[in-house]
């Protein structure tokens, strides 16, 4: 299973996507595209469908209607066995972190590489490099419960970017962070995007994209209500 990276297709494309949960519509007739190397924001109040939209991108959910293609792969036609290999091209910063509490920072970040079968030598090099980039090199042996919220967030970001994914998804990445830490996290995302990674950030915090000039998709009660550039 290879990631189609020929640049002809949009990196992410939603076409008339609807998703229901127990007769409650989470997303209704959503159509949008994200180009390769773009950094966009998905915003809206809580319950507007941001997380569902991300879940559809990382194959945790399937659409009830419409089609989604990620780097040319149409998710509805994917075999179950292909999903792990496609997910390896997507880095995810989860809203609830999903850190492994019984593993230290190094092991948490290394897990993304171990799953890919990377050699131990390369794991060591890349994990320490990534931790250094988010200023957590000195916390490599610490367990997640001993870290602050901001530090945990940076571990999650390290894990998401260590394998150099093509797409980075972040779900409320600054939700529990103070403004300074949030600014640091956003700076990291911009740096990753500058290296060519397509970044999609779901947030209800308008301050994150104000004056950024980035494209913003606005959701409300599962509907795409606006698509514009942040001024």
């Amino acid at each position: 299973m290879t990631w189609d990276d020929d640049g002809n297709n949009p990196m992410i494309h939603f076409s008339g996507v609807t998703k229901d949960y127990d007769n409650q519509t989470a997303l209704r007739d959503i159509t949008f595209s994200v180009e390769k190397g773009e950094m966009i924001f998905v915003t809206g109040p809580s319950g507007s469908g941001k997380t569902t939209l991300l879940k559809l991108i990382y194959f945790a959910e399937k659409p009830d209607q419409g089609t989604i293609s990620i780097a040319g792969w149409e998710t509805g036609q994917l075999k179950e066995s292909s999903i792990p290999f496609l997910r390896r091209n997507i880095g995810i910063v989860f809203q609830d972190f999903r850190l492994l509490q019984n593993k230290n920072v190094f092991e948490n970040v290394a897990m993304a590489l171990r799953i890919r079968g990377t050699s131990e030598k390369e794991i060591k090099t890349r994990v320490y490099e990534t931790l250094k980039a988010v200023n957590l090199r000195h916390k490599a042996d610490v367990f997640p419960r001993r870290l602050s919220g901001g530090e945990q967030q940076r571990v999650v970001i390290s894990r998401a970017i260590v394998a150099e994914p093509t797409v980075l998804l972040a779900d409320e990445p600054t939700g529990n962070l103070d403004p300074d830490t949030a600014e640091g996290v956003m700076r990291t995302f911009k740096e990753i995007n500058a290296k060519g990674t397509t970044v999609l950030i779901a947030t209800h915090n308008r301050e994150l994209f104000r004056n950024s000039g980035r494209r913003v998709i606005r959701l409300d009660m599962g509907n795409l209500v606006a698509e514009d550039r942040a001024q």
Partner: protein
């Protein structure tokens, strides 16, 4: 693969109590199986040599001619089931009987003529000493001219047969049911461990882990639990032998006769491994993830 072992070892240590409980449950099961095997093995060994002592007596017609006797002996010798044939003239039979009953010689007082008939003693090959084959052979022997009656220890044969078949059946039932029990213990343990690590597994999946990456540590864990159970049961059976049997044999010499096939028990850890992996595979096969 190496990382699967690391994850399995970490889980073994983290969930030590549930794993220890499983190991000792498996060890108990395998120990009972071993004791059953030891019993069956000893009964089998004890009864194995009994057929060598088995013989049939073919009583011949009164005043049978020598040619007829020779012909009967010839027919018997040609039979593939026969090991040896011995003609016993009635004079020799009486002599043997008198020698046997020398302390009760009064039995023969007043006996004017030999009441015993001529006979042929037939010993069958070890493999042919079975209830059915002997019955068939006896039928065939009765058709030989000059043979009046065929005598053999039918009850002995059926008892021997029942004993061997019975012990083997009980042993097999015990092995099958305890084996299934051990597989179930491994199945339940792996299932519990899987559910306890559900969140971790979900994260693995979202990071791109394949089913093989997720499953392998559980299979390794099942194998390690099974092997450990096998090793503990091996220690148990050897302890039973050295502590119980050898000590008892000092005061009760009959225990010296018990055979201990130590080579046979060396496979216990491998049996444990097999049952552990089987249980884990069943558990993983039934889990939806």
């Amino acid at each position: 693969m190496t990382y699967a072992f690391i994850l399995a070892f970490q889980s073994l240590i983290r969930e030590k109590w549930i794993n220890l409980l499983s190991v000792f449950t498996i060890a108990s099961g395998l120990l009972i199986i071993s004791l059953a095997l030891l019993t069956v093995y000893n009964i089998d060994a004890a009864t194995k040599n009994l057929p060598e002592r088995f013989s049939m007596i073919l009583y011949l017609d009164n005043d049978i001619q020598k040619e007829k006797v020779d012909a009967a002996v010839g027919i018997l010798k040609k039979n593939h089931a026969v090991l040896s044939v011995r003609y016993i003239p009635k004079e020799e039979a009486l002599k043997e009987l008198k020698a046997t009953l020398k302390n009760s010689s009064y039995v023969f007082e007043g006996l004017d003529e030999n009441p015993l008939p001529d006979a042929i003693e037939v010993k069958l090959k070890k493999d042919s000493v079975g209830q059915e084959t002997v019955r068939k052979f006896a039928g065939e022997a009765m058709k030989i001219p000059g043979v009046k009656e065929v005598d053999y220890a039918e009850k002995f044969l059926s008892t021997l047969n029942y004993l061997r078949v019975g012990m083997k059946t009980i042993g097999l039932i015990l092995i099958a049911s305890l084996g299934a029990g051990i597989v179930f213990v491994c199945y339940s343990t792996v299932k519990i461990l899987f559910y306890r690590r559900n969140e971790e597994i979900e994260t693995f999946k979202l990071l791109g882990a394949t089913k093989a990456f997720i499953r392998t540590p559980f299979l390794v864990e099942g194998a390690l639990i099974g092997t450990s159970g096998g090793v503990v049961s091996l220690l148990g059976i050897f302890a039973f032998y050295y502590i119980v049997l050898l000590r008892l044999s000092v005061s009760m010499p009959i225990f010296k006769a018990i055979l201990f096939p130590s080579d046979l028990f060396l496979v216990l850890p491998f049996v444990g491994t097999f049952l552990g992996v089987t249980g884990a595979a069943f558990a993983l096969g039934r889990l939806k993830y």
